[in-house]
């Protein structure tokens, strides 16, 4: 590695967040540069393309006021790194890892490149430990497992932050092993960031939390670094210090917009809705940094949050995210309007790793079957509700009414829980209570022996129909 510092004074063009510099023939791809302008604070940038004629530098801060003729670009020969230490716990940093809390910089145990490396697949450990979030819609139907990446798909104005905060407060991994939170605010307003910080304070998690803040008025391009810094810190805490790390990345929509901004400034051919064609690969380089490694203590569980523009789940940001992550928790505007918190729409929600974390010895033997049955009846109830909107309540048969009632009760009793936490046993008990509206024969997805064991107190066959529809199986 060439450690000689080189200075270039031949910046030829500025386009949006990009600087074009001539004669930077010894630069390296991905190298971090310092941009010096007389009388102004030094800015930082990163080399994203190199050719014989020029280097393209993406400026991490505002490019406003940069005058090509007076600009010096200093190439220090280093790729983007983050000094890491266990002492980062309890500290707050900006979006590129510099302290924001007025305290001196951490004394690094080591310095790591923020891009990270892919875990060799044969060293990856299959996730299998149940995390009790205390939220019935998640624990009961879309179970979170250590080492999983499970995003929350939110909409503008929906309370994703309250749900995430609730999970941070309540998340328990069994056995009381070392646990910490890495929080990355990506382009969110101060109000929201402040909310999270207050939650960390109030729940006593503060000393076990590392915070990276890039707020809405911070430089856009810095947002591309923020999740990478956070994940680098998380990997260090997890795989060097053996901690179980919960990473919250919010809001990934802002991240993707920053990515688009750079891509379009480079005049790349835009993909869907202007987002670059490599957004899948780029997002994967973040989301895939979750998991567990054979023979190492810790784990990284990711809870990214994104806002679906116009509540559209087919928008490229939720779409590509869903293809990479192991499921998704989808928030519903309709439930939110009904005042149900958390407003999780369980039908499009999914946890792909659920089966690995539930069942006998983990949660309880009846968990899978119970979840399947609840899903099936609720899906049917929602169909009936749609039909009711057309034919009116009078047009419904007795059988259909039972499903309609079930859907209402499911939302009011199972989904609605306010800000309190429920142990998994309570979640399952509520599920069984709701199923008592149906006779035993209608529970086609549950084995008889399980029904006999768990469908106890209160007994009493309901008047419901035996015929069911859309009974489920295991999610993909």
């Amino acid at each position: 590695m060439d450690l000689v510092t080189r200075i270039s004074r031949s910046t030829t063009a500025i386009a949006g967040p990009l600087l074009f510099v001539e004669g930077a023939r010894r630069a390296r791809l991905g190298e971090i540069v310092r941009i010096r302008l007389e009388g102004e604070q030094e800015r930082r940038g990163q080399v994203i393309e190199l050719s014989e004629t020029h280097a393209v530098i993406q400026v991490l801060e505002e490019t406003q006021g940069i005058c090509p003729a007076r600009t010096e670009v200093i190439f220090a020969g280093e790729v983007a790194t983050l000094p890491v230490s266990r002492q980062m716990l309890g500290r707050t940093f900006n979006g590129i890892g510099q302290p924001l809390d007025g305290l001196p910089p951490v004394i690094p145990e080591t310095t790591l490149p923020i891009t990270g490396s892919a875990i060799n697949i044969v060293r990856r450990e299959k996730p299998s430990e149940f995390i009790q979030t205390g939220v019935s819609a998640i624990d009961g139907l879309n179970t979170l497992v250590r080492g999983q990446k499970l995003p929350i798909f939110s909409g503008a104005g929906l309370p994703a932050h309250s749900l995430a905060a609730q999970i941070v407060r309540q998340a328990q991994v069994r056995g009381g092993e070392p646990f910490c939170v890495v929080f990355a605010a990506i382009g969110i307003p101060f109000r929201e960031a402040d909310y999270y910080l207050k939650v960390f304070e109030g729940s006593g998690t503060q000393d076990r939390t590392v915070v990276f803040l890039n707020l809405a008025d911070d430089p856009t391009i810095e947002r591309l670094m923020t999740p990478r810094c956070a994940l680098t810190a998380a990997e260090f805490l997890a795989f060097t210090h053996g901690m179980h790390v919960l990473v919250i990345l919010t809001d990934m929509t802002h991240y993707c917009e920053a990515l688009r901004e750079v891509a379009l400034a480079r005049e790349e051919i835009p993909g869907r809705r202007g987002y670059p064609g490599y957004m899948y690969t780029d997002l994967a380089s973040l989301y895939e940094r979750a998991g567990k490694i054979h023979g190492r203590q810790g784990s990284i569980t990711q809870l990214p949050i994104l806002t679906m523009p116009d509540d559209d789940i087919t928008h490229p940001i939720p779409d590509l995210t869903g293809y990479i992550t192991e499921g998704q928790v989808v928030l519903s505007r309709e439930l939110d309007r009904k005042g149900i918190f958390p407003p999780v729409d369980v039908l499009p929600s999914l946890s792909r790793l659920m089966n690995l974390g539930i069942g006998e010895g983990r949660t309880r033997e009846d968990h899978r079957a119970l979840a399947d049955q609840l899903y099936a009846f609720y899906a049917r109830g929602r169909d009936v509700r749609r039909m009711e909107a057309i034919v009116g309540e009078g047009g419904l048969g007795a059988e259909e009414r039972v499903f309609l009632t079930f859907a209402d009760r499911f939302e009011a009793e199972f989904l609605r829980q306010g800000s309190g936490g429920r142990p998994i046993e309570e979640t399952l008990a509520i599920g069984w209570r709701l199923l008592r509206a149906f006779p035993v024969e209608a529970l086609t997805r549950i084995k008889r022996s399980l029904i006999e064991r768990y469908r106890t107190e209160g007994g009493g066959d309901g008047a419901g129909p035996r015929h069911t529809d859309g009974a489920p199986e295991h999610p993909g």
Partner: protein
């Protein structure tokens, strides 16, 4: 002569000074000797796609051509192995570099130290032709690895060396002095030769009722599985890898999730091959390039996979290749193309997307191998991940034109947890007619008629459901209610199949036929009873449906006994109703 880097943009690098090198040659890039491939030559400039992360590369670093196209190593040691997209063995890389992947590590694909017992099938003085079997290595309990004369080689044997040998040791020496080892090399982008193609008239049995009965494909055929996220593509691909009737499975994890692959890696060694009882891993070759591994190697991974599949085909085996997902491959192609600043076609994909897909799928087929003995087949099943679940996008559409079956996954069915979420209205197969004869012969003569009847029933239900959505279930006629009820049993008891139930996970055609027979018999008998004055409520009260819905859990061996008894019970129960 060494070239020099003159431009770097993501995975695309431009170098000069490579005038001697040809298109698709493999190069070593930079001081770290990163692996790459020449994908364009324009004057003195060669454009390379680099299979490893390019961060840290600088202009002026050297580029050396190896003079060879991207090739794979073929020989004993492939089975049970896990490779990356350019056939580097991942366990060996972990031993070298630890838990994370590092750049610039090279390692031969096949273990050079391991010694295999070579049992010759030829003798001194024999005349060898290309593709001929010269010997056998018992690579795993379930599969004899046949050692073949490489394409283009022939001659008379001077010496045969039986016994223990490493893959690179000579096992046969020809009169002209040429030595044959157990190791062959083959360029991945060129299809391996065979003698001739055979008509696709034998089925590729998947063990999935909805596929085998309604949308079967032929051995050597091709199918695509498009579906939005969460519709169960990966579980279905894994189910195929577990239960499909094939000698060898090549599973290409192309740009997908790491945790899912670790699940495959931890489960497969403990699962049994349904045909031999040996560990499932023994018949499996994994090619894995997860989404966070370099994008250009992802582009190469499907070719690495299909070349390995063709190699086992040439031994006379039936190989199933599953790719999860071809969309990630297409995106890798798009990403590299866009770095080359090529004019984009639809949705930014390069204009040659359809051609490349066609070339890839056309490497499937049932053939007589070069050696002329027996037959081998490569069946290809490619998952597609259409953006937003919209099948009108270019990768789905281009794939549809060159493949033989569409197994469409439906988001709606997945939301209802109906798995496999194959949409029976949208899916199709072009092989059905050619396979009819086999099914009629092997499974039962009524196969064709029952299949058609079941499809009609589902179609009729779909129409009725549209009415029900408008007026409610109470408002339609009892005869129509019976259709809806019968179709429900067919959907829930037959089309739906649990990938996680020990018996139901795989279903042989004989059992599937019995299930269809019973379900349709109930449907006819119930309709007849209704027309003879039995009330709908009375029929629904019989609770026959509970028995019919649990047929999937009946072990195939007991199906005939249980099936016949249930058939009689249906008749008698309904007869009693008519009598009363």
């Amino acid at each position: 002569m060494d070239g020099r880097i003159v431009k770097i943009s993501g995975p695309a690098v431009v170098a000069n000074g490579l005038e001697e090198a040809g298109l698709n040659e493999v190069v070593r890039v930079g001081h770290e000797r990163l692996m790459g491939e020449i994908i364009r030559i324009r004057g003195a400039l060669a454009t390379l796609q680099v299979y490893e992360e390019t961060t840290g590369l600088a202009l002026g670093e050297p580029v050396v051509s190896t003079g060879e196209p991207l090739t794979v190593e073929l020989g004993p040691g492939l089975l049970g192995q896990i490779f990356d997209g350019i056939q580097r063995p991942l366990p060996a890389l972990a031993a070298l570099a630890g838990d994370f992947l590092r750049r610039g590590i090279a390692h031969p694909a096949l273990d050079r130290q391991k010694r295999w017992r070579f049992e010759p099938k030829v003798a001194t003085g024999d005349r060898l032709t290309e593709g001929q079997i010269i010997g056998v290595v018992r690579e795993t309990a379930g599969l004899a690895h046949r050692i073949l004369v490489p394409p283009g080689v022939s001659g008379t044997i001077r010496e045969v060396k039986p016994g223990e040998a490493a893959v690179t040791d000579p096992v046969v020496v020809l009169e002209d002095g040429r030595q044959l080892s157990m190791l062959q090399r083959w360029p991945v982008r060129r299809r391996r030769p065979f003698r001739r193609r055979l008509t696709p008239e034998l089925p590729f049995l998947t063990g999935q009722r909805v596929l085998d009965c309604f949308f079967p494909i032929a051995a050597g055929g091709t199918a695509i599985i498009p579906g939005g996220f969460g519709t169960g593509k990966t579980v279905l691909e894994q189910t195929l890898a577990k239960f499909a009737a094939a000698d060898v499975i090549v599973f290409v994890g192309c740009g997908e999730r790491g945790n899912e692959m670790s699940e495959v890696l931890s489960d497969f060694p403990h699962l049994e091959d349904p045909r031999t009882g040996a560990p499932l891993m023994d018949r499996t070759v994994l090619v894995v390039n997860t989404s966070n591994m370099p994008v250009a190697a992802r582009e190469a991974s499907i070719y690495t996979g299909i070349t390995i599949a063709e190699y086992f085909r040439d031994m006379g085996y039936h190989v199933a290749l599953t790719v999860d997902s071809t969309s990630r491959w297409a995106e890798a192609l798009r990403e590299v193309s866009s770095r080359l600043e090529e004019m984009p076609g639809e949705e930014g994909y390069p204009t040659y997307l359809a051609t490349r897909l066609g070339q890839f799928y056309e490497r499937a087929g049932r053939v007589v191998p070069l050696g002329g003995d027996g037959e081998g087949a490569v069946t290809v099943v490619g998952a597609v991940s259409p953006p937003g679940g919209d099948f009108s996008e270019p990768v789905t559409q281009a794939s549809l034109r060159v493949t033989g079956a569409l197994w469409a996954l439906s988001t709606d069915l997945a939301y209802r947890r109906h798995f496999p979420a194959i949409d029976w209205a949208q899916s199709f197969t072009l092989y059905a007619e050619r396979l009819q004869e086999w099914f009629a012969r092997e499974a039962g003569a009524e196969w064709v008629a029952l299949r058609e009847e079941a499809m009609r029933l589902l179609q009729r239900e779909r129409e009725l459901q549209e009415i029900v959505q408008l007026v409610g279930l109470e408002a339609i006629q009892d005869q129509e209610r019976i259709v809806i009820e019968s179709a429900r049993l067919l959907r829930e008891g037959f089309l739906r199949q649990s990938a996680f139930h020990e018996v139901d996970a795989s279903c042989p055609p004989g059992k599937a036929l019995w299930m269809l027979r019973l379900l349709l018999h109930f449907s006819w008998s119930a309709a007849r009873s209704l027309s003879e004055g039995v009330s709908l409520a009375a029929i629904l009260e019989t609770r026959l449906d509970e028995r019919l819905l649990r047929l999937g859990e009946v072990p195939p061996g007991e199906m005939e006994t249980i099936g016949s008894a249930l058939m009689t019970e249906i008749d008698e129960t309904l007869k009693r109703l008519r009598g009363s």
